[in-house]
């Protein structure tokens, strides 16, 4: 996978989506935070993917979902799909 640089805008929007779902403060979510440690279980991860698809108008393929383990991985995935 070709990495594209993560923009601050993408990071901010992803943090906001996670925070809204988990009902926690966005400041508690770092780039390296692991989604499961934040409290996103498998169902929660699907909710996040749903929100990301709506927010960024992208389609996340099923086989990409298991890769999305950290906030950084989510942002990278979003950037890749947006630039695809």
């Amino acid at each position: 996978m070709i990495k594209t640089p993560m923009t601050p805008d993408t990071l901010e929007r992803v943090r906001r989506l996670i925070a809204a779902y988990l009902k926690i403060a966005p400041e508690t979510i770092g780039e390296d935070s692991k989604l499961d440690e934040l409290g996103l279980d498998s169902l929660g991860a699907l909710e996040l993917v749903f929100e990301i698809e709506e927010e960024f108008k992208i389609k996340v393929p099923d086989d990409r979902i298991p890769e999305l383990r950290t906030v950084r991985a989510v942002c990278d995935g979003v950037e890749t799909l947006r630039n695809a």
């Binding site: 779902y21 988990l22 009902k23 926690i24 409290g39 279980d41 169902l43 929660g44 699907l46 909710e47 993917v49 749903f50």
Partner: protein, 411 residues
């Protein structure tokens, strides 16, 4: 385990328009203080001035784990809040909970979440169902969440019999414990039916009481001027246990569950049936092995519709015959509204309190008993002190579905 064990209630918990714990509920029920009010900022098609028995100031974050909080549907949130109180007041330890069963009644399940999904998909172009649409919509969402939040690992069942749901859930818990199959069960009901479509649909059936000059007094069971139901939301749960199990762990019983009757009218889907109700009351009394003379209070289904109250009063009068005119009867729906599948949970709690405390809650807003109703001792105005040996809890539902519990004072 021995067969045919005595079954007792050891814990109570509720959230409703009357408050967020049992003391608040008891205070309001016995004082006849109504939780019914106008629904501010609520729009339902065809309802000009919507009123309801809505829960004030409920914060799910106070009772749900961080894992459950994002996805728990509303009725399930109420269930957990109520059940946590019941389990705490019973003093159940972790080992007892792990063996415990969960029996939940709900009339509408995840209706609020279903409605939101449909609105998103059909009213807003391009939206699709969320991944959580199915697990929040399913009827057993509350039962599942009770198990995971409170670590009850026993049998986990949901009873969906409309307005008698919670009463059947309690009745089945009673049967399983009495038979020696289960030691501890959490039983009751939860419903969150205050959605625009549900309220409007009840309006279309023309059974909703209008707001009138004072919405708090809109629901007036057995009154000459009664005009219908007021929809409520909430949850009421009880911990039921085998009496020997309670003794062994040093717990305290609040009341005994002595009998349960269940039947079907096999008639009209919405119109209640005197013969069906009479048969159900008799089944419950027979199941309990209780003489009619021992019954000192009936907590009525008492919805406040002309049809329900007339049918129920006639059935009570027929079953109790010469004793009927001296039999105290009241409906607490006047203050907590009709909480649908949770109604039997809240009202069984009121009945347990009546037995434990030796006082009968009044039917609030009952000023002039409908002269067309048969002669019963309609308790109105103020609570009445009375040592009640046994009490009935009646619940009747659409589908011609009836449930009656017999509860007994702890001697």
């Amino acid at each position: 385990m021995t067969a045919s064990r005595r079954v007792v209630v050891t814990g109570l918990g509720q959230v409703s328009a009357l408050g967020l714990d049992v003391p608040a509920f008891a205070e309001a029920v016995f004082a006849g203080r109504s939780g019914i009010a106008r629904l501010a900022g609520f729009s339902a098609p065809g309802i000009d001035d919507p009123i309801a028995a809505a829960i004030p100031g409920f914060d799910p974050a106070l009772c749900l784990s961080t894992r459950a909080l994002p996805t728990a549907p509303r009725a399930a949130q109420y269930a957990v809040a109520a059940a946590m109180q019941a389990v705490a007041s019973a003093g159940l330890g972790g080992a007892e909970r792990e063996r415990g069963c969960v029996f939940v009644g709900t009339g509408f399940g995840g209706i609020a979440e279903i409605e939101e999904t449909y609105r998103a998909c059909f009213a807003e172009a391009g939206l699709r169902p969320r991944p959580t649409a199915i697990p929040t919509a399913m009827a057993n969402a509350a039962a599942g969440l009770l198990a995971s939040e409170l670590r009850f690992k026993g049998e986990n069942l949901t009873f969906a019999t409309a307005c008698s749901s919670a009463t059947h859930a309690i009745g089945h818990a009673f049967r399983r414990i009495r038979a020696g199959e289960v030691d501890v069960a959490l039983a009751g009901g939860a419903d969150a039916p205050l959605t625009p479509v549900v309220l409007a649909a009840w309006g279309s059936m023309r059974v909703l009481a209008p707001a009138g000059a004072d919405p708090a007094r809109a629901c007036r069971p057995f009154d000459r001027t009664r005009q219908g139901i007021v929809v409520g939301e909430g949850a009421g749960f009880l911990v039921l246990e085998a009496a020997d199990h309670v003794s062994a762990r040093g717990g305290r019983a609040l009341a005994e569950v002595a009998g349960y009757g269940a039947n079907a009218d096999a008639g009209h889907v919405t119109r209640p049936d005197v013969e069906g109700v009479k048969d159900c009351i008799r089944r419950a009394l027979h199941d309990a092995g209780v003489a009619m003379d021992a019954v000192g209070y009936v907590n009525a289904h008492g919805t406040g519709t002309p049809a329900n109250d007339a049918t129920e009063a006639r059935a009570i009068a027929d079953v109790f015959a010469d004793r009927a005119k001296d039999l105290p009867v009241s409906s607490t729906k006047a203050v907590h509204g009709h909480v649908m599948g949770a109604a039997g949970g809240l009202e069984t709690i009121a009945t347990v309190l009546a037995l434990r405390d030796g006082r009968i809650p009044p039917t609030a807003h009952l000023e002039e008993v409908d002269p067309a109703l048969p002669d019963l001792d309609y308790v109105a105005g103020a609570p009445r002190s009375a040592r009640v040996e046994c009490a009935l809890k009646n619940s009747f539902a659409f589908g011609g579905n009836n449930a009656v519990l017999v509860l007994r004072q702890i001697r």
